[in-house]
Amino acid sequence: MNSGSRHELPAESDWEQWLARYAPALLLFARQQTGCEADAQDLVQEAIVESWRRQSQAAPPPLALVYATIRRRAIDLARRDDRRANREVAAHLDGPECWFDAGADERERNVLIQKAMTNLPEIYRQVVTLKVWGGLTFSEIAEALDIPANTAASRYRNGLIELRALTKEVFT
C-alpha cells in the first residue's frame, strides 16, 4: 500500500483488529434495532463500509457515525413493509439471538439482562447500549441518535434506574 496516497487505507490487519474490537457492540446495537439476525448483520456491514468510505483519510470512521448509520438504516428498513414482513418471518424462524456472551457460568444471568434490556423502553435501551457496551461519550451518543447531549445524559440515568429495577433478581 502506498503510504503517500491520499486515500490510504489501513492495512488488512488494522481492519481486522478494528472489526474484532468494535463489531460485537455494533452487532448488539443492530440486533436491538431490527430484531432479526440477518437484517442486523446486513446493517452492520453496510454501515461500516459506508462510514469508512465517507472517510477521506486512512483513519477509521468515528464510531458515532457508524452507529448513526445503523440507526438510520434500521429506520429505513422498518419503513419498508415487505421487508418488515420478511423480517418477522425470519425472526420467527431464527429465534431470539443471544445479545450477550453466553459463557457457561453466566448464561442465566446474561439471559436475564437481555430480557430486562428487551423490556426497557427503546429510548433508554439505545443510550444505555451505546454508553455501556459501545463506549461512546454523551456527545457521541447525541451525534449517533441525533439528540442533544443533555437529553442523552438524562435518558442514560433514567435508563439505568429502570434497568436496575428490571434486574433486581440479577444484581442483589
Partner: protein, 161 residues
C-alpha cells in the same frame, strides 16, 4: 440511585460482554474490506462519468438528427409554399375552388439502424409519405393537383423494438 450505586451498576453491566460476532459474519465483514471497494470505486469512477456522457449523447444525437431532418423538410415545404411563382398563377387565374381535397398516403415504411462512433446501435423508423392537394374549379374546368413527398424520421429505442 446514588453516584456510587450507579458506578457499581455500570461496572456490573460492563462485565457482561456483547456476544461475539458469528464466524461466518466476521468472515463476510473481513471480505468487505473498504480498501478493496475503494480501489474498485477508484477504477470505476472515470467509467461512470464516461457512461453519463455516453448516455446523454446516445439520445441527444438521434434527437438532434431528427430535429435537423424535420427542419430541412419543413424548410423545403415552406420554401415550396412561399414560391412566388405559384401564388400569382392561382391568383391570376381567378380560380374559385368548388372542391378541395387534402390527403396523405403512406408510400413506404422502413427501419434504419445506424451505429454511433462508440459502436452503439441506434434505430430510426422512417416513413415516406405523399401529401396530396387537389383543387377543382368546375366552372372553369380546372383541376390542380399537388403531390409533396415527405419523410418522417423517428428515433426508436433499440431495446423496445
Amino acid at each position: 440511585m446514588s453516584e456510587q450505586e450507579q458506578e457499581r451498576f455500570e461496572a456490573e453491566l460492563r462485565r457482561t460482554q456483547p456476544a461475539p460476532v458469528p464466524r461466518k459474519f466476521m468472515d463476510r465483514l473481513q471480505a468487505a474490506d473498504p480498501s478493496i471497494h475503494a480501489a474498485q470505486r477508484g477504477r470505476r469512477q472515470p467509467a461512470t462519468e464516461w457512461t453519463h456522457w455516453w448516455r446523454l449523447a446516445r439520445w441527444l444525437a438521434p434527437a438532434l438528427a431528427a430535429v435537423a431532418v424535420a427542419f430541412l423538410i419543413g424548410h423545403a415545404n415552406s420554401g415550396s409554399k412561399s414560391n412566388p411563382a405559384d401564388k400569382p398563377l392561382v391568383a391570376a387565374a381567378g380560380l374559385k375552388a368548388n372542391d378541395v381535397q387534402v390527403d396523405h398516403e403512406l408510400v413506404s415504411s422502413f427501419d434504419v439502424v445506424a451505429t454511433l462512433p462508440g459502436g452503439e446501435p441506434v434505430r430510426f423508423r422512417c416513413r415516406k409519405w405523399k401529401d396530396q392537394l387537389l383543387v377543382t374549379d368546375k366552372s372553369s374546368g380546372v383541376e390542380i393537383e399537388q403531390n409533396s413527398p415527405r419523410i418522417e424520421v423517428m428515433p426508436v429505442r433499440f431495446e423496445t423494438y
